[in-house]
Amino acid sequence: MDLNITVNGEPWALDVAPADVLLDVLREQAAVKSPKIGCERGDCGSCTIIMDSRTVRSCLVLAIEADGHEITTVEGLSFDGLSQLQNLFLANNSFQCGFCAPGIVLAATELLERTPNPSRHDVQEALAGNLCRCTGYEPIIEAVLAAGDGGAS
């Protein structure tokens, strides 16, 4: 079937089977690698992408469902330079192995767009669907909170 999607501002015309999953199509045919394969059940969040301004678990979306939609991944966010949030993650040494990082960056980006000054609870809620085994979350939460109060901390 014909699949027309925009990925980080770039249009792609692809041919997919109905049973092809969006995560696999993005990684294998649309030149993005930041959404990761972690569990393929929507439990770990490492496949997170932004579809039309909302985070979704791309392992639970059939590729063909994305026809006509806009997809943003961390590669797109980073294209014109790092966001303030990304710089805070960097300065705070928030990530360790980095496998969960793209999903978390997107989830935190979505949060800050909707709630510019989130509380600790808001941050935990926004990130609760992204599993991280390395960090214990604390340095990640700190950076998002710092991004929230305008980076004042």
């Binding site: 049973a19 690698k33 972690g38 770990c44 960097l90 300065a91 992204n130």
Partner: protein, 799 residues
């Protein structure tokens, strides 16, 4: 008597510029921009083939037949392999494993065959068409059953297996290794003790749950060279095991290349070799084409290493003044179907199962028992978390019984520098007493806190930890170092960046010696063709071992730099120093020669000729004071462990009496890092390790059915913490009592931070509710029902 350290690391001046600072990770930008490449992210072009495995549904069975005819005829299938194609044994410390099951399957999920096809979908479909017939046998699912008289032998050939000389299998049993410590006279000591406490603790199996699943791409090129891209903690050890396993096909080490990019979490699960051998072997069947084998999350749970379960029988004797006089610790390890790596966990625990205490009379037995469950293997803590649960729970109970404060009891008995260890060697310098005091302070130990909520109670707990790296006595690290035209540096090592910050720490060490800023130092991920040897990135040893190798390489580079300057300008070496990327001279303050001027090109002299050229260096480190000579009957006489890292953990928790829900309000953890080369990264290990440790005691709950099948191989039902499931406050405390032979005094901390989490919760729950739980996990349900049973019992007593 103290241990002498034959290699004294470069003694730091206290004016350190990089070491000791929270430098920004050099791989940080890769990871937050999406640039970081993991194995599954590498493109191999349209020629990439995919493999899918056929797994045993039985925990123990004889393979009667494998029929691949229908599968071979399926769309897209290129090749199918079974055990007959690779009848070779291999293993890390003992050769008891196969590439594919041979004649018998020994755990549910064990690979029996594999299909290579042109697409992932076709491989998965074809794998379902392979027909295997089994004669199902009764599995042994717990270690006590497996050591009982008359139990079926899971490995009847155990007596013939090749193994390292410091393992002691019992032929014609299911005991693959038995580490014994016999010191003093425990029988006499128990009879003379004022108080003796005996009990059994149960710790189940656990899963690593790195977010990146195991994945491997293997290719045998047309020249016969095998390259394997893996998410591995151990590229050189993997190459060694691949070469060993495939030796019958004519491979030696030069024919095998292992490349490892970033790894998305290891925690021990990506050490040694587990599923990667399947990919490496399959590649030999399809010359010229790369083959990808990627584990699903379910396979990640049941067909990679698991943390062994253990039944711990513990007996401790003390005097009324609190002195520990005797420890008898018997550990029955549920080690799984193959113990080639896991047997060393059993060994390591056996050597140190007294815990961080001074104990004159010891009878420890650590038994590695075969069971029909997934292979046990290395997991962060390497046996220490498993036995600390019982040990540190036990110590609290004893303190209470003799009327002594639990912290005072521990301080009285804590092992200190010079004390004799269980196997005869001596304890290294360590800040245990400082760690205990600072942790106790941080949680306001001794001050009872009241809850505002009528449904909840507040409790506090403390527990100590220690661990030494569990390695063969000749585990080594090496490093190459080179400069570039702009004065930047490339360092090649084969330690792995698993997330712990290893690359950054190596850069900081080199930066300190060579006065080049950290962000001008690249540390390259391993390629066994180009990067020099590293045993494995395990055991929390690479900061120490690889750090020494990098430090030596940097020192060598520095001396070569000074040599060139001396040659051209005449300054004596000891008058030169490095600062701000330049060579400077103490006796001539006007002299400043930027490194970028000459580290490739050399220096031109007055007569127009040049001196110097590319500055390159190397360093290696292998401890020369360790040996595995311990007596099989007593464990005495060897020096198996390089040194211990120690620390303490304390928690304040709030528990809902009705629901059993636990909130960890405050968790403090002090670890003696010797020297925190990067305090941020040490804090990262404290926070991450603590949360992982708390997860094992509060949430993770692995279940097997009566057939030995894992019932919850998903994150839906095997719960690892989310951002909501962490302590309200974590207080990281870094203690620094230098390790004399460590780089700038550093020793490892990566595993240690999770070790005391389980007993500290057990102790705090007891403090809050008066309920002592001696099995893990201590879930909401277990707490609620135990407390309910207690108050029901008490109210029945009253009636």
């Amino acid at each position: 008597m103290t241990t002498t350290y034959p290699f004294e690391a470069e003694s730091p001046s206290e004016d350190l510029t990089t070491v000791g600072t929270p430098a920004v990770r050099i791989d940080g930008i890769d990871k937050i921009s999406g640039a970081a490449q993991f194995v599954d992210d590498i493109d191999f072009g349209p020629g990439l083939l995919y493999a899918a495995v056929v797994e045993s549904p039985h925990a123990y069975a004889r393979i009667l037949s494998i029929d691949t005819t229908e599968a071979e005829a399926a769309d897209g299938v290129v090749r199918i392999a079974t055990g007959k194609d690779f009848p070779y044994k291999f293993g890390m410390y003992m050769e008891d494993r196969y590439i594919f099951a041979q004649d018998y399957v020994r755990f549910v999920g064990e690979q029996v065959a594999a299909v290579i096809a042109r697409s992932h979908r076709e491989a998965v479909r074809a794998a379902k068409l392979v027909k295997v017939e089994y004669e199902v046998l009764a599995p042994l699912l717990d270690p006590k059953a497996a050591v009982a008289d008359g139990a079926d032998l899971i490995h009847p050939e155990l007596g013939n297996y090749t193994h390292v000389p410091w393992f002691f299998p019992e032929a014609d049993t299911n005991i693959a290794h038995w580490r014994k410590i016999r010191k003093g006279d425990t029988e006499k000591a128990f009879s003379e003790a004022d108080f003796v406490l005996e009990d059994t603790y149960h710790v189940p199996r656990y899963a690593h749950c790195a977010i990146e699943p195991h994945v491997t791409v293997s290719r045998l090129d047309h020249a016969g060279r095998l390259t394997v891209w893996t998410a591995s903690q151990s590229p050189h050890t993997q190459r060694h095991l691949f070469a060993e396993a495939l030796a019958p096909l004519g491979f030696t080490h030069k024919d095998v290349r292992v490349i490892t990019p970033y790894v998305g979490g290891g925690f021990g699960g990506k050490a040694g070799v587990s599923m990667e051998i399947i990919g490496a072997a399959m590649a030999t069947l399809v010359k010229g084409r790369p083959i990808k084998l990627r584990w699903t999350r379910e396979q990640e749970f049941y067909n990679t290493y698991q943390r062994q379960g253990v039944v711990a029988e513990l007996k401790v004797g003390v005097m009324n003044d609190g002195t520990i006089t005797a420890v008898e610790h018997k550990l029955y390890w549920d080690a799984g179907a193959y113990v080639e790596y896991g047997a060393n966990v059993v060994n390591a625990a056996g050597l140190s199962a007294t815990g961080p205490y001074r104990v004159p009379n010891i009878t420890n037995d650590s038994l590695c028992v075969y069971t029909n469950l997934p292979p046990g293997g290395p997991y962060r803590g390497f046996g220490y978390s498993e036995f600390h649960f019982g040990l540190e729970s036990h110590m609290d109970r004893i303190a209470e019984a003799i009327g002594m404060d639990a912290v005072e009891f521990r301080k009285k008995n804590a092992i200190v520098e010079g004390d004799e260890l269980a196997y005869g060697a001596h304890m290294n310098p360590s800040g245990m007493l400082e760690a205990i005091e600072k942790t106790a302070d941080a949680i306001n130990w001794g001050v009872e806190e009241q809850s505002d909520n009528p449904n909840t109670v507040i409790g506090k707990g403390m527990a100590l930890f220690w661990k030494a790296p569990a390695m063969p006595p000749n585990a080594s690290s090496a490093s190459f170092l080179k400069f570039n035209e702009d004065g930047s540096i490339n360092i090649t090592v084969s330690g792995m960046e698993l997330g712990q910050g290893y690359l950054t720490v190596m850069a900081q060490i080199a930066s300190e010696v060579l006065a080049v800023p950290v962000d001008k130092i690249r540390v390259e991920t391993p390629d066994t063709d180009r990067n020099p040897y590293e045993w494995q990135t395990v055991a929390s040893h690479v900061t120490w071992s690889s750090g020494l190798a990098v430090e030596k390489a940097a020192v060598e580079a520095r001396s070569k730099i000074f040599d060139v300057i001396h040659q051209v300008y005449g300054f004596e070496d000891d008058s030169l120093y490095l600062e701000d990327e330049a060579v400077k001279c103490k006796t001539d303050p006007t002299f400043s020669k930027p490194l970028s001027d000459f580290v490739i090109e050399g220096i031109q002299t007055d007569d127009g000729t040049w001196r110097g050229g590319p500055i390159i260096a190397s360093g290696k480190f292998m401890p020369e004071f360790t040996n595995a000579n311990s007596d099989p009957a007593t464990g005495q006489g060897g020096h198996p462990n390089v040194h211990y890292t120690v620390g303490a953990t304390g928690v304040v928790l709030e528990v809902d009496k009705q629901t059993g829900r636990i909130w960890v309000r405050k968790a403090a953890l002090a670890v003696d890092a010797g020297r925190a080369i990067n305090p941020d990264l040490v804090k990262g290990q404290i926070t991450g390790g603590l949360v992982q440790g708390l997860a094992t005691v509060l949430f993770e709950d692995m279940r097997f059915d009566e057939g030995g099948k894992m019932m919850n191989p998903t994150f839906t039902d095997y719960k690892i913490p989310t951002a909501f499931d962490i302590p309200d406050e974590i207080i990281p405390i870094i203690v620094e009592v230098p390790q004399p032979d460590g780089p700038f005094g550093a020793r490892g901390v990566g595993e240690h931070t999770m070790i005391a989490a389980a007993p500290v919760i057990g102790n705090a729950v007891y403090n809050a509710l008066g309920v002592r739980i001696t099995s893990m996990p201590i879930t909401q349900e277990k707490v609620a029902m135990s407390y309910l049973a207690k108050i029901t019992f008490e109210s029945n007593q009253e009636e």
